[in-house]
């Protein structure tokens, strides 16, 4: 083999190695967590995207609550401990406190909810999100329920 043949082979191999061992796992990793919801036993969910967690309430919670008429949310910059009360929702049925699923700092709040609190009922996993926060202790995610564990948990409450 000539030197030039060898170089082209080397670059193909490098590219193959790169794709197999770097890109694919990275894509797999991001896809695994992207859109994955984790749940607390107080019916909040958190969706991890990079280093930010988006927080909302589950469908079970929004149904139990009824039509939301007011959302009391924290300030951006507020530091939260896991399980700390960070706000409250008021619905036609009752007032209900909100508890932080993780430890971190509030980076964004859903300002749409001030004018349109009903989004929490209409689209609780999408446009009805409540806050975004930084994730200070990623290990706390391990203690939260995944979708199937949460579904089992909800079923146990209904029995």
């Amino acid at each position: 083999a000539t030197r030039s043949d060898f170089s082209s082979l080397w670059s193909i191999e490098t590219a193959a190695v790169f794709v197999l061992f770097v890109c694919v796992p990275r894509v797999w990793f991001l896809n695994f967590f992207k859109g994955t919801l984790k749940f607390t036993d107080k019916h909040e969910w958190v969706r991890v995207e990079g280093s930010i967690g988006t927080v909302g309430i589950s469908n079970y919670a929004q149904e139990a609550l009824g039509d939301v008429v007011y959302c009391g949310l924290p300030e951006v910059g507020q530091k939260l401990e896991q399980m700390e009360e960070f706000g409250a929702l008021e619905s036609v049925k009752a007032a209900s406190e909100l508890y932080s699923p993780l430890t971190g700092e509030v980076s964004e709040i859903n300002t749409e909810l001030a004018e349109n609190p009903g989004l929490v009922n209409k689209d609780c996993y999408g446009e009805g999100w409540l806050i975004k926060m930084s994730i200070e202790k990623p290990e706390e995610l391990d203690g939260l329920m995944d979708q199937s564990a949460y579904d089992k948990f909800v079923k146990s409450l209904e029995d």
């Binding site: 609550l65 007011y70 009360e85 008021e90 619905s91 004018e115 409450l157």
Partner: protein
Amino acid sequence: MFLRPGLWTGLLPVRTHLSGFFSAGIHSKLTKDGSLIFQSKSTDIHQNLALEDWIETNVDLTNRRLFLLWRSHAAVVIGRHQNPWAECDLGAMWRAGVPLARRRSGGGTVYHDMGNLNLTFFSCRKLYDRQRNLKVVTEALRRARPELDVRATERLDIVLNGKYKISGSASRLSRKASYHHCTLLHSADGSALQSVLRPSTPGIHSNATPSVVSSVTNLTDHAPSLTWEELTQALVQQFNTEFGLSSPLSLLDPSDESLFPGIGCMASELRSWDWTFGKTPKFTIETELSLSDDLTLEHTTAQLHIELKNGLISSIVITVQDQWLQQTLINELCDVLTGERFCPHRVAAAVSTLIKSEQDETQRRLHKLSNTVISVMG
């Protein structure tokens, strides 16, 4: 509040606490006497609201319903997300010695006095059923006075003769427990009610939960012979009938810390300024002030714009017409007020130094402007 660990979660009393050995505690009443219906001895609004919190946090309500009856001396009670400056006349309340309380449940503003009976239905979330709770009240009234037309509405009010409200409801859901409480107007002071349930402050813009104003009436206006004794007995009996129970009525003293450990702390939190006023959702005030110099009678108007967060003045802008007072001095006044509680006493104290440092006409007008701004606070 809900995060405070329950002292016990089963039927066994707390091993380390004396209340487990003496029989006057609620837990013993639950287990020994099988009592599920209680009446509070206290007539203090904050003490009774703290009792509700304490029961919700500390009593295991799994498959259980509890019923609490209580009354309080004159007080105005606002819902969790309401704005007191929009709902009640704080100045009139201050002068009449009527305290303000913010409850943890949602809903609107009510006036309590000894002519009003409060009913709290506690249960686990699974058994939460407000319509059924109100049926206890309507059926009890129907049995006691069949001639009265009482009905629960979709809004969970109870109306008499189709148009007068005699009861309003509010509720709270926490992780496992819930409570639904309602008022019941037996013989409340109607004129006192009207004089305090109106706004303190003009020009409020807010998305706090507003109250729905209704015409109210007392039960005794339509059934003058209905005594407290008879009403209480009817409610106790109907609660038992509705839920298939046979519970006696037991008295509770919520000021007894040995029976309700931690209740004093809960009551203090409910009495604090930070809870009562500081939990007001952010709002703005946009209004026009009328100013006149007390000596020269020179008159002008001013635009007032205040932004409030957590009950504190986060920003204030005053624009006075006709150069009635120097703008630099007005701006100094605004700087002094920024960050202060939206409270007449605090604000008066904060501006006094500034006023004293001026003289003659400037001092007079600055004083006038300050007092006019203070009057907006109720």
